[in-house]
Symmetry: C2
Subunit: 182 residues, 2 copies
Amino acid sequence: MDAAIACFRRRGFHQSTMAEICAEASVSAGALYRYFSSKADIIGAIAEDKRGESDQAFLRAAEEQGFVPAMCLAARGFFDKFADGDGALIADIFSEAIRDDAVAAPLRAADDQSVKIFMRAVTAAQKRGEIETTLDPETVTDTLFAALEGIGLRRAFRRDINTEAAVSQFRALAERYLEPRK
Amino acid sequence: MDAAIACFRRRGFHQSTMAEICAEASVSAGALYRYFSSKADIIGAIAEDKRGESDQAFLRAAEEQGFVPAMCLAARGFFDKFADGDGALIADIFSEAIRDDAVAAPLRAADDQSVKIFMRAVTAAQKRGEIETTLDPETVTDTLFAALEGIGLRRAFRRDINTEAAVSQFRALAERYLEPRK
DNA sequence: ACCTGAACACCGTTCAAGT
DNA sequence: ACCTGAACACCGTTCAAGT
């Protein structure tokens, strides 16, 4: 899997060949197919593995510094992936997952996990008065994730992947979206 | 190009073969390569062609009904594409454009055009007091586009492409983001 | 000038043979 | 049980030959 990540980073999902991944991992094609049932399966396994890594760090930060700053910390980590050239890979993961439910299913399970963790933080922040209480925690979480992903993709598309600018853009949106009224 | 759109809709970009597109268009492979230099070039031409179609309709709506309702109208049209199964195709376009600058360049030109039109509407709405005046029109436009694309992609990924729900989700975000304070 | 389609180079996947 | 790698089926692209 590390070999596949290295290849995908270098040349992207569709441009990387199974032969390259085999060479990088020093195994034969047959051996690779013993562990992954297809090329799409590899990207699924990678995406599944990467999700939820930083959820615990986020939860701690949310309690110590408040929801928006913690969210911006997570955003910074996410935008860094785009700065590292993983933008096209993330778009590929979306594409494969949207097209192929076998790819999407495990990713959705991991995503649900993340959503649940962030949802809990939203609810806690609402109790502390940081977030408008009339907003539904699940919708808020999904919307913020969508904004995060959209901002990253658009910036990669526009060749303007400045992490700090991306975080500021996200913070301005999140602050105004979440701010309690009256 | 209509033939390619039909194929990509049916089976997606990477799953469609040049032979299929040739058959659908009733031309030979050689003839196709006379008009498009590669498969990536076809998706670039399609995306370029589709952009800016609804910009004029948006401008009129923005003046008649206000910015957010007009934006929601545009959002509805955009989310309908995802409901029509174009989600993976849109992700493919992002992927190819992020990876290949030859694909991205014409798309960026078309995107800039749309951004400019929406920017003008933002400025006009700020003068009418509909939108917080301290917000930068270009950032606002880019952020709303990012949210639009992110919400669409995430819903396609989650297999929850309900256009009305998506529009409501977007409207709630846009209203709170743009609303003038004090 | 423009088109055809066989040919080429290449890639994901399989499976008979090996250890 | 697990691995190897040649073989297979397939696809994007080209180009000599045709109109």
